[in-house]
Subunit: 137 residues, 2 copies
DNA sequence: TAGAATACCTAGCATATTACTAGGAATACT
DNA sequence: AGTATTCCTAGTAATATGCTAGGTATTCTA
């Protein structure tokens, strides 16, 4: 998992947590998350294309979630930002002529499935709850 | 997961499956697995250093498992060959000052744990069994 | 004892990826 | 008019990937 997936997830969580305040600008986001505006610009774009956030241009603009936090999960976020599959042959089985006879292929598949299941089971709503619990300590 | 982890796992499985024939040379291995001898040389070295295989030099030499197939699991193999951790902060928490307050950190940890558990639960013995079943089809 | 087959060691290298930064254009609020 | 924002395209230094190449040391076999 690269910084794209990680920062992007943090960005989405930040936007979710600050939902009431209206659109979150990248400047605010950058400050709170200690990231550069310029890099965030690049991360947010795929998230927008994936239909997870909507943008409002101009002064006072920023980003909002395009759905309820309970309707966006981490798999959607991370997949918008990077290729999650542990090995190429899972994406493009034709890239390896051995898939049919390869016992290890099945293992990589299991790894991917378990990763996907974990990420898909966690919504932004869940993450908001977790974050609040952390902050309370 | 890079080719190191994948090819290395295939190599270990190959050595396990051909255990009765004595030490497996990289030349044989390369032929059966359709990989180059030179690259295999580089993959096998860390596996040797991790104490998973033993080498026999000179003509007629090759590699053998240093323990029973049931006593070697995939986690040991893959960890010998590459860094499995999905994000740096899991390896070196001090690399990110936000770990304590970061809700996403816990998620990456879950992903890593589940991956580790799957790999640790599979021994070379299990893989041999799986491979035999595949070949029977 | 010579030769062949092997493991072992180090270096190099082309390509791709990563993690950004930079500069500016378009848009919209005040 | 000016400012704050999103949007778009390039560029780039550093690192990782996936090898190849060349040679040395060791051991078996004829």
């Amino acid at each position: 998992m690269s910084t794209k997936g990680r920062y992007g997830t943090r960005a989405m969580l930040d936007i979710a947590l600050n939902y009431e305040k209206g659109p979150v600008s990248l400047r605010e986001l950058a400050q709170r998350q200690e990231l550069s505006v310029k890099y965030l610009e690049q991360l947010i774009q795929p998230l927008k294309e994936a239909g997870l956030v909507e943008s409002i241009r101009g002064a006072g603009g920023g980003y909002t979630l395009s759905r309820l936090p309970s309707e966006i999960n981490l798999l959607q976020i991370v997949q918008a930002l990077e290729n999650l599959s542990p090995v190429d042959c899972l994406d493009t089985p034709e890239s390896c002529p051995r898939v049919s006879k390869c016992a290890t292929y099945d293992v990589w598949k299991e790894l991917q499935d378990s990763t996907y299941n974990i990420l898909a089971s966690l919504t932004l709503m869940d993450m908001m709850e977790r974050q609040r619990q952390k902050s309370e300590l």
